[in-house]
């Protein structure tokens, strides 16, 4: 998809360029943190959903990335909604 730069429904890792190259992980379908890559751990995989235009967890597919408190916080987390405003 040209607008967002993501392939639709294709799982991906978000890899930090900090020295350890940790990946983003949805910790318990809630908060997001960087952790060591672990093979086939679905909590570390995300995909772009073209219908809702959100990035969702491959492990908890109804959870999308959002900015907490309707964007009023700095924290990034996963939330069970199709109304995420991150994108």
């Amino acid at each position: 998809m040209h607008e967002t730069g993501f392939h639709v429904n294709r799982p991906f890792y978000l890899v930090s360029r900090l020295p350890m190259h940790r990946v983003a992980e949805a910790v318990g379908a809630n908060n997001m943190a960087i952790k060591r890559y672990r093979k086939n751990v679905l909590g570390q995989q995300f995909f772009f959903d073209a219908v809702s235009k959100t990035v969702r967890s491959q492990q908890w597919k109804n959870y999308a990335i959002e900015i907490q408190s309707n964007g009023g916080s700095a924290n990034v987390r996963m939330t069970s909604t199709i109304n995420s405003r991150w994108w």
Binding site: R10, V15, R22, I34, I67
Partner: protein, 137 residues
């Protein structure tokens, strides 16, 4: 960068590369803690196995090595009291043998497989070995 419609970007809190460090959004400044690569799962590179080179770290996985000081004595890095790191003359003991451990991305001793560690959780200048906790880097 991963940027939203209001210009905020994904940011590792405080730029600290720790295990379980929180991800937040922040104003774009372009430093490395805001830089990410999207790697599709079907293209994620296989991790090097025993005997292979980890190119990111420049070390071979689980291949023993010694560390020799460039000072005139060329002593090896060793352990005293099986904990604290010092330099000693080569003696053939396991406390002088080190290897790179791929799963933890740490350097471990052959003596008991503990990893390099900065004493007191990085708050001192002293080097020792300790249970592997990914804290060294």
């Amino acid at each position: 960068m991963v940027v939203n419609e209001k210009g905020k970007v994904f940011d590792v809190l405080g730029g600290i590369d720790d295990e379980n460090r929180n991800i937040q959004v922040y104003n774009k400044h372009g430093k490395v803690n805001q830089l990410w690569d999207i790697v599709y799962a079907d293209e994620y590179p296989a991790e090097p196995i025993k005997g292979e080179l980890n190119k990111d770290f420049g070390l071979y996985v689980e291949r023993d090595f010694y560390i020799s000081t460039a000072m005139s004595s060329h002593r090896y890095v060793d352990l005293i009291n099986n904990r604290n790191m010092v330099i000693k003359s080569p003696n053939g003991r396991k406390t002088q043998k080190w290897y790179f451990h791929q799963q933890s991305l740490t350097i471990r001793t052959r003596y008991n497989n503990q990893s390099w560690d900065i004493k007191s959780a990085g708050k001192t200048t002293n080097m020792q070995i300790w249970s592997t906790n990914s804290g060294w880097f």
